[in-house]
């Protein structure tokens, strides 16, 4: 298959060869990390932002309500380190939960284990949302 030159022009016009570094390309990911969904909201992607915010925040709160554990910075077991990295993705919610000493529990039953996973995955999903906010800011995504 040979693609036509006209097709190449169209693609080149849609996607710049190098990412455009703007103030928004720095601010949006930072805000998105701190407040889930806010990186989309400040770029006027209202519905996407609200859905992301609702999903990540609800998952994190449900995790805490299920007596899930919030990992502290640690240099011990590899799974504990990875758990901390995952939790850190939740940004502001992680900082607040640490400040309020939430999630400082011993996981002693199945529901608490689900809760711990909810908190980790909320953070990991927020990492994806941060990357998406950045892609919108540099014009790679509509």
């Amino acid at each position: 298959m040979v693609s036509s030159p006209a097709g190449k022009d169209t693609i080149a016009a849609k996607q710049p060869a190098t990412p455009i570094a703007t103030t928004m390309s720095v601010v949006a990911p930072a805000v998105a990390w701190l407040i889930p969904g806010a990186g989309h909201l400040i770029q006027k992607r209202w519905i996407r932002g609200l859905l992301l915010m609702a999903s990540v925040v609800t998952m994190f709160v449900l995790g805490l309500l299920m007596d899930g554990r919030v990992y502290r910075p640690n240099g011990g077991d590899i799974l504990d380190i990875l758990g901390f990295i995952g939790d850190l993705g939740a940004g502001g919610m992680y900082i607040v939960s640490r400040a309020m000493d939430l999630g400082h529990v011993v996981v002693a039953h199945a529901t608490a284990d689900y809760g711990t996973k909810f908190i980790i995955v909320a953070g990991l999903l927020n990492f994806i949302a941060v990357a998406d906010a950045y892609h919108i800011a540099i014009g790679k995504k509509p």
């Binding site: 992301l52 998952m59 949302a129």
Partner: protein
């Protein structure tokens, strides 16, 4: 403390993860909805298959 069954926890997990995957992995609203529903179906399908496999191994 909130107590959820394994199935309900997996249902909530699938819903929220599918919403985020749909929004972040596709460009247009139509594709986002379709991909979100696809992810949700895969999560729930995988859950049911894994459940039945474990049941079969146990019996």
């Amino acid at each position: 403390m909130l107590t959820l069954s394994h199935f309900n926890a997996a249902l909530l997990f699938s819903t929220f993860a599918s919403v985020v995957f749909g929004i972040t992995q596709r460009d247009t609203p139509r594709e986002q909805v379709r991909y979100g529903l696809y992810c949700f179906a895969m999560f729930m399908g995988g859950l049911l298959v894994a459940g039945w496999v474990m049941w079969a191994l146990r019996h």
